[in-house]
């Protein structure tokens, strides 16, 4: 580019000298030719500027293809991601409920086994201390027999309900896949936003904003960032804080 400018300056200088010498020698015809030559040089450099601008415009438009990608993200992929995340809420809720259904069915079974066993054990110890009358022994034997049968069928029930609990955990695999896809989408959106910020020449502000640690006011749910100093990470820290406040 510099060489080109130098050449152009040389040509212009040469034409100018020619013009002066023509004017001095009174050769008006040749002087007019020299003036035409000079204006041609100007036009040529104007054309090259217009050419450069055209190329820049073309590149800017090509970059704006990105805009189409953002349109796609906003129109399709983000609504789709919202649906996917709702699916995660539904799946985890249904798994939690299935698990709790089964556990709530298991608890009274276990409770009843314990109660019957405790009662039998009291009477069983009477047998050893010879406090049982003959008729009572027959009755105790019948109760023990009934208990053994019920334990067998109850543990069958417990096994099947525990298996239900096990199967209810299958949501983890499915929701994991869905969340992983959403993470990819978030990454994609981030990349596009950063490109847009750079295109509009706001890189400096972006860098500044990245360094800023923004304070979050009010409720925000579980905090994942373990490095944050304004957040307590466990119950012991909470207890310590409360006791320092006189609790």
């Amino acid at each position: 580019m510099q060489i080109q400018d130098k050449m152009m300056a040389d040509v212009t200088l040469e034409q100018a000298r020619k013009l002066i010498s023509c004017l001095e020698s009174g050769n008006l015809e040749q002087a007019r030719e020299a003036i035409d030559g000079l204006s041609q040089i100007r036009e040529a450099s104007l054309f090259s500027e217009v050419g450069k601008l055209t190329r820049q415009l073309h590149e800017a438009l090509a970059n704006f293809q990105l805009d189409n990608k953002i349109t796609g993200l906003a129109a399709q992929e983000i609504p789709d991601a919202k649906e996917r995340l709702n699916y995660v809420i539904e799946m985890t809720e249904s798994a939690a409920n299935k698990t709790m259904d089964s556990v709530e069915e298991c608890l009274p079974i276990a409770q009843s086994i314990k109660e019957t066993a405790d009662n039998l054990s009291i009477d069983w110890s009477k047998l050893y201390s010879r406090e049982l009358k003959p008729g009572e022994f027959r009755e105790l034997a019948a109760r023990v027999e009934a208990f053994l049968n019920s334990v067998s069928s109850d543990s069958g029930d417990l096994t099947s309900k525990l298996n239900d609990v096990l199967l209810a955990q299958d949501y983890q695999d499915l929701t994991g896949q869905v969340i992983r896809r959403v993470i990819t989408l978030v990454q994609d959106v981030e990349d596009n936003l950063v490109t847009l910020i750079k295109m509009f020449g706001c890189s400096e502000e972006f860098k500044k904003a990245k360094k800023n640690t923004k304070k979050i006011e009010g409720v925000e749910g579980p905090v994942i960032d373990k490095t944050r100093e304004d957040v307590l990470t466990n119950q012991d820290d909470v207890d310590d804080l409360l006791s320092s406040l006189g609790f």
Binding site: E93, N97, M100, V103, V219, P222
Partner: protein, 125 residues
């Protein structure tokens, strides 16, 4: 002992209710946010309130403040069970008069310990 459990997630209400039952508290009712909970408290004879913080409608901290501002409810013991764990939030809850503060996720042992501590302190008064 009648207990009101307030949380916007039904699964969490169910967990808390189950744990309370295990501790021998069988008389429980549920509400899904402060707005539903407050009239229940005002019209019912509840002895204890377990509430989340982050809920749509009225949040737990505002429910606590409303309870303390109500002459009939001001002495009701309130246990907060929440994922909110910012230092300033815990201070805010303490200043608003919370009786106990449990951060999620929590264990059955923690719930038992905090409830026992609250009643010990009330009986000691």
């Amino acid at each position: 002992m009648k207990i009101l459990v307030v949380d916007d997630f039904s699964t969490m209400r169910r967990i808390v209710k189950n744990l309370l039952r295990d501790l021998g508290f069988t008389n429980t009712a549920e509400a899904d946010d402060g707005q539903t909970a407050l009239p229940m408290l005002q019209n019912g004879d509840f002895d204890f309130l377990v509430t989340d913080w982050n809920m749509p409608g009225m949040q737990g901290i505002d429910l606590l403040k409303n309870v303390r501002a109500d002459p009939n409810l001001k002495d009701l013991p309130v246990l907060m069970v929440t994922a909110e764990a910012k230092r300033e939030q815990i201070v805010e809850a303490a200043q608003a008069g919370v009786n106990g503060y449990i951060v999620k996720p929590f264990t059955a042992g923690t719930l038992k310990e905090k409830i026992e501590k609250i009643f010990e302190r009330i009986e000691g008064k």
